[in-house]
């Protein structure tokens, strides 16, 4: 479980996050949705510790993030995995080296043990045999999968995904969604996904938090979205004319 309490963050004059309190549950895919500029990326970066909020607290289970000393923080970091929007794979390293990097840096496993773990992670994301390739030789979807493999290599308890489907075709996006959802369930981890892909919301949105103008405007599950009376949420979800048409047609057919 990850809990954020009264998070506030401003950049200069602009208040990007205006007091958000939220709980992300263990064993679930927790989605943060919202328009561009709604503050979801900033919130994700605050949760993962890349940006310090002006005020507020973050709890990782029972651990207060901002009260940890360097050693405790290091131990926590090893339990956190993150998939970045652009995958953030190290260009000069092969797939194998990219995934092995956290193992090399923080563990004292033997070479064989590390290789086994790397191979397992690659197999888990469906990229067995691609060890020697470099990021530039991979498609966008494959890069995301390598990013996931690297994020889970240390068996994290918390997984953060920033726009995992950006730039991917719908079929590959679905594959990535299923992969993240599957890993969340298998390992019973707390997964937080920042997205504005409505397919993801409908596929894997166990809890969905809608941010609007730096505030938590709505929270519920994917099945609650259609029943919600929140106008901002509806405007956001059905912004696409295609979806709006489908909704209208569904409404007409239901009479």
């Amino acid at each position: 479980m990850i809990k954020a309490e009264q998070i506030i963050k401003s950049f200069g004059e602009q208040q990007v996050i205006k007091s958000i309190s939220i709980i992300f549950e263990t064993g679930k895919t927790n989605l943060i949705i919202g328009r561009s500029g709604s503050g979801k990326t900033v919130l994700l970066k605050i949760l993962v510790g890349l940006i310090k909020p002006d005020s507020g607290r973050i709890w990782y289970d029972d651990d207060d993030f901002y009260s940890m000393d360097a050693k405790e923080l290091q131990a926590l970091r090893m339990r956190v995995g993150m998939l970045f929007q652009g995958s953030a794979l190290f260009d000069s390293m092969s797939v194998d080296e990219n995934i092995r990097f956290p193992l090399d840096m923080f563990t004292h496993k033997t070479r064989l043990e590390k290789q086994k773990r790397v191979d397992y992670c690659l197999e888990r994301v469906g990229l067995t045999g691609n060890n020697k390739k470099f990021p530039s030789e991979l498609s966008g979807g494959m890069q995301k999968r390598v990013g996931i493999a690297r994020a889970i290599v240390l068996e994290p308890r918390y997984l953060f995904c920033d726009e995992p489907n950006s730039g991917l075709d719908p079929k590959t996006a679905l594959l990535i969604d299923e992969l993240i959802h599957g890993i969340t369930k298998e390992q019973n981890i707390t997964t937080i996904i920042n997205t504005h892909d409505m397919n993801s919301v409908m596929e894997i949105g166990e809890t969905v938090s809608f941010l609007n103008n730096g505030l938590l405007a709505w929270r519920g599950s994917k099945s609650d979205i259609l029943k919600s009376n929140n106008d901002d949420l509806h405007d956001f979800i059905f912004a696409s004319p295609f979806l709006q048409k489908l909704l209208d047609e569904a409404g007409q057919s239901l009479g």
Binding site: L50, R77, V80, G81, F84, Q85, A88, F90, M105
Partner: protein, 246 residues
Amino acid sequence: MKFLEDLGRFILLIKHGLVRPPNWRMYARELVRQMFDIGNGSIVIIGLIAIFIGAVTAVQFLYQLGNTLIPTWYIGYIVRDSTIIELAPTISCLVLAGKVGSNMASEIGGMRQKEHIDAMEVMGVNTPSYLIIPKILAALLVIPLLVIIAAFVSIVGGYLASVGGGFMNTQEYVRGLRSFFLPYNLWMMLIKAAVFSFILTSVSCFQGYYVKGGSVELGKASTNAVVVSNILILVADYLIALMFTT
């Protein structure tokens, strides 16, 4: 005000990087990679510049001493000392600021823009320690060696210009080289090389580490790395000269 803010951030960045690495082997590997990049990538350009520096120094001093009572064998002495005290460390490091410094600023800045630094931070890697300190250490180890090579090549350049050009014979040049030698000057050269190495790598890494925006900002950071390094190298050169010669 901006200068003080940057200075504060620079000091904090270096201080933040000075921690015990979690895995010495990874850091050692990065150190060796950096040493290879700096040394292997710079030796030809440093050698080329050094040979001409020595040759030009010899030819110009021959011209200046032409109608004086100072014997021509002094050329060896002048080339040696001007090379050791000033030209080898300063010119080499000014050139390396352009080559190595801009490369480091671009590399780290590119990593910042592609979220590589964020990815490492999330993993728990102390990025100043892993990305910056090995570069500074590599430069501190390799650049003084390059400067020693530059000094040697420059003296050879002076020999080729003065003896090869028919202005004097080998014995005269060597006599000059062996006259009035102070080992202290070699220390001054090495200290300059070490200080300049620190300046050019740390300033360049700092510029790259805090880059924001896109490719235009990355280009600016790279340019700033060279300009600021060069200015600081020249200021440091003056201060070291003042401390060691007065």
